[in-house]
């Protein structure tokens, strides 16, 4: 394999990790509430600005991470309490529109607070520099993104698979009535899922800022949309599908840009959506999704 291709694969893994981090929270919330959360991408922006603020305060890197994760979780909790819980039991489309409204509100609030001017994200010393891995040069940021994503996904897997809370979440996703009848605390479980999914997105925002060096109030839109695509690709509501979809999308995007003549690179999003449509023609439930009636 050529060094160039390996380099592109690494870039794809990096981008795919970011998508997977956002997609998994999106999928978590969908699987429990059958709610398409359009505000989910904005939580990435919240995380990026929280990182900016925390970095300005100074303090060790782990404190910055903790602040980012906590702000994401709190923002998620706020979204659920203010916009989602009051609408529970209403038609699906109502919740969907509510999350669109939340997204517009968050973005405009950020525009008022921070203006639309992109800000430079101060990449910490810790994340600067490169490593030579054989023929491939990896920036430290790339490695941190990839490895910390895998670590987080592993933690999430353990939580969902083996913890009491994870079991409650899966139960709720599977059968709401049965979950209530066995004594699952529905409100608390939904709230926790929002907090968890949003914290993941916020952490992705921190990584996004560190990787691309810039943050702005509308930065969450594109990743949010991509995460949605990743979920559909992998199979809506399937956590493994969200991760798989995220990585496929990241790799496909990078390889598309990297292997075709530069003149085509502006078409990468068109390519992504065309590929999605093609895939859904053959696999309407995505790669790992199951038909809804089988899950009920």
């Amino acid at each position: 394999m050529s060094a160039y291709l390996l380099q592109q694969l690494l870039n794809g893994l990096m981008l795919g990790s970011l998508y997977a981090l956002v997609a998994i929270g999106f999928s978590l919330i969908y699987s429990i509430l059958r709610l398409i959360n359009f505000a989910h991408g904005d939580l990435l922006m919240v995380g990026a600005f929280a990182a900016l603020a925390a970095a300005a305060l100074g303090g060790p890197w782990w404190a910055v991470v903790a602040i980012v994760v906590a702000s994401g979780a709190l923002a998620g909790i706020a979204v659920e309490r203010v916009a989602i819980r009051p609408l529970r039991g209403m038609p699906q489309v109502t919740g969907f529109i509510a999350t669109l409204a939340v997204s517009v509100a968050i973005e405009n609030l950020a525009l008022i607070l921070f203006t639309g001017q992109p800000r430079t994200f101060p990449v910490p010393e810790l994340l600067r520099g490169q490593l030579e891995l054989g023929p491939v040069r990896a920036t430290r940021v790339d490695l941190v993104i990839i490895l910390s994503t895998w670590l987080l996904l592993l933690v999430l897997l353990v939580v969902v698979r083996w913890s009491r809370f994870g079991r409650a979440m899966r139960a709720l996703a599977d059968n709401l009535l049965a979950a209530r009848l066995v004594g699952v605390d529905v409100d608390r479980t939904i709230l926790f899922a929002f907090a968890l999914g949003s914290a993941f997105a916020a952490y992705a925002g921190l990584l996004w800022g560190a990787r691309f060096g810039q943050v702005d109030p509308l930065m969450g839109f594109a990743p949010g949309l991509k995460a949605f695509v990743a979920c559909v690709l992998g199979g809506v509501g399937s956590l493994a599908g969200a991760v798989l979809g995220g990585y496929l999308l990241g790799l496909a995007e990078v390889l598309f840009v990297g292997l075709l003549p530069p003149a085509y690179s502006g078409l990468r999003d068109a390519f992504v959506f065309a590929a999605l449509i093609l895939l859904l023609l053959f696999l309407p439930n995505g790669l790992l999704g199951r038909p809804e009636e089988e899950r009920a």
Binding site: R164, R167, A168, R170, A171, D174, N175, L177, A178, A179, R180, L181, V182, G183, V184, D185, R290, E294, R295, A296
Partner: protein
């Protein structure tokens, strides 16, 4: 004992329970029979807190404790009080394993060790579930699913067990197994409220019974007495003309 006093419940446009009063004595098996749409399922859902009455009261008086008013508590609190509902249509967690379904039955319990022991007990009671412990509940046969639904309810260590048509779709032999299990539970001191389409079988094993029609109690009494009631015989036991 469980006591419903003048319970009214609305569902959709109209009332489905019209002032139902009913008692389920502690340690007894009480049968609730009635035609399709009579309101039996609605009544059980009200006891477990899924439906809310708009009038009337619902009291549960566990042995040696103060009576608790259930109609203001969340389903979760009601489960914590040992009032467990094995619902109509089984309502398993279809995408989850047999083992996870059983653990979820014990979701409100914190005694991990005892829960594992109870899982083993369920596998003795229903050996086929043990063989299928890692299989998805949705992939079980209908009869196996019914066993799992009952086993899941038992995992909660019920003090009052509400069962909604547990024998539905089962082969006669299997249905008998289920009824035997209920009698064993009663012998262990569990209070039971059994909803059945199969009125004959229900009134045979029950201590007392209620007949529900159009959301109202139209007959009640010792099961033996109901079995010889001409109206019950005609409408629910297929005797006479």
């Amino acid at each position: 004992m469980l006591r419903l006093a003048e319970l009214w419940v609305r569902r959709g446009a109209g009332a489905v329970l019209h002032g139902v009063s009913l008692e389920v004595p502690r340690g007894e098996l009480t049968a609730l029979v009635g035609a399709n749409g009579a309101g039996k399922t609605s009544l059980l859902l009200t006891i477990s807190g899924i439906l809310r009455p708009h009038r009337g009261e619902l009291w549960w008086n566990p042995e040696g404790e103060e009576p608790v008013r259930l109609d203001r508590l969340s389903p979760k609190r009601i489960v914590e009080l040992g009032v467990i509902h094995c619902p109509e249509g089984r309502q398993l967690f279809a995408s989850m394993t047999v083992y996870d379904n059983l653990l979820l039955g014990a979701h409100q319990r914190r005694d991990r060790r005892a829960v594992e022991r109870d899982v083993a007990r369920m596998f003795t009671l229903f050996p086929i579930l043990g063989e299928r412990r890692r299989q998805r509940a949705g992939s079980l046969s209908g009869g196996e699913q019914t066993m799992l639904a009952i086993a899941r309810a038992l995992m909660a260590r019920p003090r009052l067990l509400l069962l909604d048509e547990p024998s539905l779709g089962l082969a006669p032999q299997m249905a008998d197994r289920i009824f035997e299990t209920l009698l064993e539970l009663r012998a262990q001191g569990v209070t039971l409220l059994l909803v059945e389409q199969n009125a004959r079988a229900a009134l045979e094993i029950a201590d007392r019974g209620y007949v529900l029609e159009g959301g109202r109690v139209v007959r009640s009494g010792p099961a033996q007495q109901l079995r010889s009631d001409p109206m019950v015989q005609r409408a629910y036991l297929g005797i006479g003309a």
